[in-house]
């Protein structure tokens, strides 16, 4: 059984406590171990660590990190084995309800657990790795009744893959996020009638490979620039009215049509799970909805780090791992007393850049910057101030852009703010190098 572990040997005092035992949390624990930190604890609210990967039984994980294609549980298991082999404590069935810091900077992580009650765990640094949640019907406007049968795609995935039940038989999917696409295929394989995927934007929000493998291969239509404009049914959803959208994304009801269905799945985006971050009063980025972090992935609370989907929503778990290893390393170094000068360069999102993480940089170190574009563009040039530019074949909002910045690059820079822009490539003249 995967990651089954009781808190038999937890010590009460730690160097690094990681909140969340999904891919980000496991990566952070390993990163902390690599940094030389000794006492590391991962707290997870489920009975088994692994996070949302455990319900992602499809393959497609690990292509970047392991250079092979794994299922979600396989990817989780590889990491969990490393975590346990590295002598990291895993405290499962435990819920973190708060973090307090005393005047010396020592932190108390408040944890609830059935067997141990409410405990305060002392630690030098903390890594937030709680992942994300799905946007719901309330976060967009879908008029109509409020029957049963309207689920987020992730909840439907849990019903099918973890509990062995179907959310319904005749399915309409709103939003073309990856989980929605994966569930279109999953439910088609279970014999459900998947009537179509409707996306309000003129392009999909899912990875291209998922459009091909999950929709095209199963003959499931994708309707772009179309949305669900009304929900019908008293007890159970009976049909939806869908309509193409005009300018301003307003549905054009004069061109609407009805589709009979018993289930509506929503795959309309993910938001960092910021319950704890908000409770701690961390500075949050209004675009990512996650904490603002420095180049060491440290939040506005000293000694408190964040990584993975709680920081910003990633499309591939491989990048979560990469980021988490870094956050864990910095948290581990912090626990061992390493203090770095504050970042002195602010990173801002310019043209066609929705956000970039981290929000600040410091010279003299290598940086990995994660960003997303606002709109698809091809071909284009990614510019970091006037310091560097990189030609990109294409950018789409669904695919995160990763940019490595070499240690010496910022040494030449004298300003205090760098803007990142994604601009159309002019006549293909830009070079592939910086």
């Amino acid at each position: 059984m995967l990651g089954k572990m009781e808190a038999t040997k937890w010590q009460g005092k730690y160097d690094v406590v990681v909140v969340g035992g999904g891919p980000a949390g496991m990566g952070a624990a390993l990163g902390a171990r690599d940094s030389g930190a000794e006492r590391i604890l991962v707290v997870d609210r489920e009975a088994e660590a692994g996070g949302i990967l455990l319900q992602c039984i499809h393959s497609g994980f690990g292509l970047h990190y392991f250079k092979e294609e794994l299922t979600g549980p396989e990817y989780a298991e590889r990491f969990l084995k490393r975590v346990l082999d590295s002598n990291v404590d895993v405290f499962s069935n435990a819920y973190v309800s708060g973090v307090a810091t005393d005047s010396s900077g020592i932190k108390q992580v408040r944890v609830m657990n059935e067997k141990m009650g409410v405990q305060a765990i002392e630690t030098r640094s903390v890594v937030l790795a709680m992942g994300c949640r799905e946007r719901t019907r309330g976060s967009i406007r879908i008029p109509g009744t409020r029957p049963s049968g309207i689920y987020t795609a992730g909840l439907a995935q849990k019903f099918v893959n973890m509990h062995g039940y179907l959310p319904g038989k005749r399915i309409v999917i709103l939003g073309s996020g990856d989980i929605g696409l994966i569930m279109a295929r999953r439910l088609a394989l279970e014999g459900c009638e998947v009537k179509g995927v409707f996306e309000i934007l003129p392009y999909s929000n899912g990875l291209t490979r998922n459009i091909v493998q999950c929709l095209d291969d199963f003959g499931i239509p994708l309707h772009l620039s179309t949305t669900v404009a009304r929900i019908h049914g008293r007890d159970r959803i009976e049909k939806v009215t869908v309509a193409p959208v005009g300018p301003g994304l307003q549905p054009d009801l004069s061109r609407s049509w009805d589709i009979d269905c018993d289930t509506l799945l929503l795959s309309i985006g993910l938001i960092p799970e910021n319950e704890l971050s908000q409770g701690l009063g961390l500075a949050l980025d209004p675009v990512t909805s996650g904490p603002v972090v420095s180049s060491t992935l440290e939040t506005s609370m000293p000694g408190l780090f964040a990584c993975g989907n709680v920081l910003h929503v990633h499309d591939l778990v491989d990048f979560v791992t990469q980021e988490a290893l870094l956050a864990g390393r910095f948290a581990g170094e912090w626990a061992q007393g390493v203090r770095r000068p504050r970042d002195n360069i602010k990173l801002t999102a310019g043209q066609n850049v929705r956000y970039c993480v981290p929000q600040t940089l410091a010279p003299g170190r290598e940086h990995t910057i994660y960003m997303r574009c606002k709109e698809p563009m091809k071909p284009c040039v990614l510019k970091v101030g006037d310091l560097m530019e990189k030609k990109l074949r294409f950018v789409v909002p669904a695919e995160m852009i990763t940019l490595k910045i070499k240690p010496d690059l910022l040494e030449r820079f004298r300003g205090d703010s760098l803007e990142i822009n994604i601009l159309p490539a002019v006549g293909g003249g830009s070079s592939e190098e910086e």
Partner: protein, 479 residues
């Protein structure tokens, strides 16, 4: 179908807040009382969509029964809250002046309220208003402050009323729409799909269906027109944006579109007021949301659609007289308690006393019970407890350490408690425990709640419903 027959002193048709308040009031006496509810649980009709406001009593028109019962009802809530343990807080309300002409209306409302005995009414000038509520629009000109107005969780209230009534011997029949009523010399017989129920008195508390129930009994002298109200619940990040209920001056058909700081701290905006024909039209609309947000932004500019976590609609039972219709009819024993629109929630405990007086006049003998239980235990509400109290709860029951709903921090013990107290559906659990009410809207807890509910009700997960009837949640896989 197994057609039982039972005989009661009083049968209450409709388990909304009015029916349940009356049931609890009658349970003080040596009587056989039954509540007959068409839905899977009580309070699943108009009550659950209520704004949850306990009005001070200065807004209903002069000379109306609803105005009188509103003020009486308001005064009863402190004791009810103490006895029944539902959430109630007298946060006060402000009727704000948006244009100079409104200022005169505030004075009139103050006089009307004072003539009814509404205590503590004050006119606030512009400076006072903005000092007390700094997030309101800067161009608001002043306000009428009513300190006795408050907020409750309407579903919590109705659940505690029925629980008290059941503890004191009342019978509850759920999933039982009344389809036919026979009258004869012995009394009235109500026919539901499951059984026939004989009763000496029938109280028609059927909300938007009250005219149809009256017609079944042969009383056709009024009609009910549903008036739909849409409400939008905002994310709890806005908690504290306003501290009091914010009303515009009363509009023609309603008290207007409001900003409601709910008992749980989240801000709710609404309701609309739109007459509809369909008595089950609970659909929200683009028009409704535009109307609400455009208006509310004039009261408080920082409120916007993007903070909505959920929306819903309810139907007010507006009678053809535009007032409460409470009293005996030409059919002996058949008593209307109809047309209970706003301020029906506020008035409901006063309505209950009023109806008991009517029953007495109609010849029902009321012998007080010696062993009437006044108190019921409210929910534990783990999330609201201090650390030490939480530790104690977990020590007593480790299920308090298992978090089922992460957004509202609802624990497994509280889900079991909700089921102990009568929850039979996911909505029943939600309204009792708050599991699924937060910003993820059940994404995390739904499968956990299904699991617990199916074990406790000893039925397969596929038999669990959202709110009874055909609202199934999951299906078996084809093997």
């Amino acid at each position: 179908m197994n057609h039982h027959s039972s005989r009661y002193d009083v049968a209450i048709v409709g388990g909304g807040v009015v029916g349940c308040a009356i049931a609890r009031e009658l349970s003080r006496f040596e009587l056989k009382t039954v509540v007959i509810e068409k839905e899977a649980e009580v309070g699943f009709g108009t009550t659950k969509s209520n704004s949850g406001i306990i009005h001070a009593g200065h807004q209903s028109p002069a000379g109306t029964l609803k105005g009188t019962l509103e003020v009486r009802g308001n005064r009863m809530y402190d004791r009810l809250c103490e006895e029944l343990g539902f959430g109630f807080s007298r946060i006060g309300e402000l009727v704000v002046a948006m244009v100079p002409e409104d200022l005169a209306v505030l004075d009139e409302l103050k006089k009307l309220g004072e003539s009814r005995g509404v205590p503590g009414l004050e006119i606030w000038d512009k400076a006072r208003l903005h000092r007390e509520e700094p997030n309101l629009a800067k161009n608001l000109l002043g306000a009428l402050y009513a300190p006795t107005a408050g907020v409750i969780n309407p579903y919590e209230f109705v659940f505690s009323l029925i629980e008290s009534a059941l503890a004191n011997g009342v019978t509850l029949e759920i999933d039982s729409p009344v389809e036919k009523i026979d009258t004869d010399n012995h009394g009235l017989t109500l026919h539901t799909p499951h059984k026939s129920i004989q009763s000496r008195f029938v109280l028609n508390c059927a909300g938007v269906f009250a005219d149809r129930i009256a017609q079944m009994a042969g009383v056709g002298d009024f009609s009910i027109r549903p008036r739909k109200g849409e409400e939008y619940m905002l994310d709890k990040r806005l908690k504290g944006l306003v501290r009091r209920l914010i009303f515009p001056v009363p509009q023609k058909t309603t008290k207007g579109t409001l900003i409601i700081p709910t008992f749980d701290g989240t801000i709710m905006v609404g309701p609309t007021a739109c007459d509809v024909d369909d008595r089950e039209d609970l659909a929200t609309t683009y028009e409704g949301s535009d109307e609400i947000f455009n208006f509310v932004r004039r009261l408080c500019p920082s409120i916007g659609e993007r903070d909505t976590i959920t929306e819903f609609a309810g139907l007010r039972a507006v009678s053809s007289t535009n007032d409460f219709i409470i009293g005996p009819t030409k059919i002996k024993g058949f008593i209307n308690v109809a047309g209970i629109q706003s301020p029906g929630l506020t008035a409901s405990p006063a309505i209950a006393e009023y109806v008991v007086e009517i029953l007495k006049k109609e010849g029902l003998s009321l012998i007080p019970k010696k062993n009437f239980l006044t108190h019921v235990k409210g929910p534990a509400r783990f999330a609201l407890q201090h650390l030490e109290a939480q530790k104690e709860l977990i020590q007593k029951d480790p299920r308090f350490a298992r978090v089922i709903c992460r957004c509202e921090l609802v624990t497994e013990a509280e889900i079991h408690e909700a089921i102990d107290h009568g929850a039979r559906t996911l909505d029943g659990i939600k309204f009792r425990s708050r599991a699924g009410m937060g910003r993820c809207q059940g994404g995390f807890c739904t499968s956990r709640c299904i699991d617990i509910l199916s074990k406790r009700l000893n039925c397969p997960p596929t038999a669990i419903t959202k709110r009874g009837g055909g609202s199934w949640v999951i299906k078996e896989m084809d093997s």
